[in-house]
Symmetry: C2
Subunit: 350 residues, 2 copies
């Protein structure tokens, strides 16, 4: 059913779009070492089997961090950007933020009795995704703006945190924030230990990710780039608030990713990590920069048993053009089934 | 003449707007200490005379960095935001970016013979700012988009760097990047030494500031928030570029500042520094957050001899509503003449 919803090519752009997210959070972060302290390659990335993918990472990091190396990159320029859905956490069978939006419609329904007979809300309430798709881009936008706007940024942050605390993934029956890939968490930490600044660059709403990116990924809110909706500053008496408006501001997907990287970060990454055609342009922007050494990496979902297997024809996380581009450009292709000896932290470890 | 140009209230919003700026830069940065290492208060901020303004800074920093203090703020939440024009560098007699725009019109004029008879270009070329104002918001927008768009982000970065290398301030006859306030440079460094992450939040174009914010202020490009214009990603053959379009994307001024802070940083600052009514909402957003201790500071230009003296009626950097708000809200008011014993690094130091 997600298939039909997403196969119309509406979703990624429209849905994740509005999935503009949340304000700052007060989660004390593990102190991040700015100084390069290369982990010993032998013990680095323990959830990665010692194959070509792992080696390509170690080799790249060694080259750009070794002073005197022709590939050496000074600390401030060590920028790495990561897609989120399907690259850092599970995106099947439905983008988490879309699950959130549908749950929000249900939660808000008692205050909107008219929704029972009005599309696209009727379809959302009945789980009739076919009808939802029938409501078109306009219907989906309505859905997103109703669930993601009309409150202050602080109120939205609370809504997201409360939802994440209760929601469970239909297959794994765990909080969505448990469904992050352990090998990628290790990769984020390994890059940071080598002086990289790690950013998330996602089609998802920035304020849907910021409330938990720091405790879960070690990526602080100011290093999360994503789709945004417009906000308006207001003084309510003596209290300043930012009110979330039902207007898409920026869609950080596909060709929008380099735009977002330039606007939010203002530096070109030297390494980029993705899993779908939505990441193609980000990988092009990061890696095709003259003769300088760069790392592009694509997570290929090949493990139906432990996670999911999908690529060229998947309505979610379609990996088709970018799969060919990986071969043509020498990007690292991660074969999830063979390259990762552990996928989630909750599995029995090694 | 600047007066007349700016007194129509057109400039700040329109001009600085488009003044959307430049991509990443390759300037190796002084390693920034993340760990809090409080400078000894007696020797901290040497260009500040030991008055109420300096004391308010020292007292605030001591309170939020002392573990166990009721005002203690964990490292990741120590976010400080600084306006640029008039707060970190000179904004008189004309915003530097406007000087840049007018110089660009002159540089481009040989390729546009028709400009000699066409407003607003004719006015810009003749230095007839009265006629320029007469061309209205639309004319000024035309001027900005012609000078700031129609090239790649990398090309624009080069243009800005080349211009800054040659341009001289009309009164001080020095590069504009020399005209940064030494006490504020010390303040930026002092905050960073105490675990703060320092951001610029300016009405100016983000890509006009990013090429030099790191060497001059120690603020890396990814910590510069400003006005933006739209860009479009393109593959030119095998080379990815971001092309600057003649469309304003976001104006980071007045009520736009909290919006920009939320969108780019995603955390609420605990300290904010400005000098004009354009900073009012940023200071409100940063300081009016319940009972928690916050620092708001306004630089009041009171020194016509060493710099400039202006406030309530100035067409540039007007400080009127925010001056009253400073008193009402307990924000620190810096009396430049009496609080700063040195203004520029090139003056004979102490």
């Amino acid at each position: 059913m997600t298939s039909s919803l997403l196969s119309r090519g509406i979703s990624r752009r429209v849905l994740l779009a509005t999935l503009a997210a949340l304000p700052a959070l007060s989660v004390p972060l593990l102190p991040v070492s700015v100084r390069a302290q290369a982990a010993a390659p032998a013990t680095a990335l323990p959830s990665w089997n010692d194959g070509a993918a792992r080696q390509s990472i170690l080799s790249f990091v060694a080259a750009v961090t070794r002073e005197g190396s022709p590939d050496f990159v000074p600390l401030p320029q060590r920028i790495a950007t990561f897609d989120n859905d399907g690259t850092l956490w599970v995106e099947q069978p439905m983008y988490t933020q879309l699950v959130f939006a549908l749950d929000r419609v249900k939660a808000l329904a008692p205050m909107h009795p008219e929704w029972k007979d009005k599309q696209p809300f009727k379809a959302a309430l009945e789980g009739d995704l076919k009808a939802l798709v029938g409501s078109g881009e306009r219907g989906l936008l309505q859905l997103i703006t109703v669930t993601h706007a009309g409150m202050t940024t602080e109120e939205f942050e609370t809504i997201v945190k409360d939802w994440l605390a209760k929601a469970r993934h239909p297959r794994f029956n765990r909080p969505y924030t448990d469904l992050v890939y352990q090998p990628m968490i290790e990769l984020l930490a390994y890059l940071r230990a080598n002086g990289f600044k790690t950013f998330i660059v996602s089609g998802g709403g920035v304020e849907f990710m910021r409330p938990w990116s720091e405790p879960v990924y070690g990526v602080p809110p100011e290093q999360v780039v994503g789709s945004t909706i417009k906000t308006r500053f207001q003084m309510r008496g003596d209290v300043p608030v930012l009110f979330r408006l039902p207007d898409i501001d920026f869609i950080d997907d596909k060709a929008g990713k380099p735009v977002g990287i330039n606007e939010f970060i203002g530096r070109r990454p030297i390494a980029a990590f993705g899993n779908s055609d939505g990441d193609l342009q980000m990988l092009q922007w990061a890696t095709k920069a003259g003769d300088r050494r760069r790392l592009g990496l694509i997570v290929h979902h090949t493990d139906a048993e432990r996670e999911y297997a999908y690529d060229r024809k998947s309505p979610i996380g379609r990996l088709d053009i970018a799969l060919d581009a990986a071969n043509a450009n020498g990007w690292t292709l991660v074969d999830m089934k063979n390259d990762w000896n552990q996928i989630f932290a909750f599995e029995s470890g090694h």
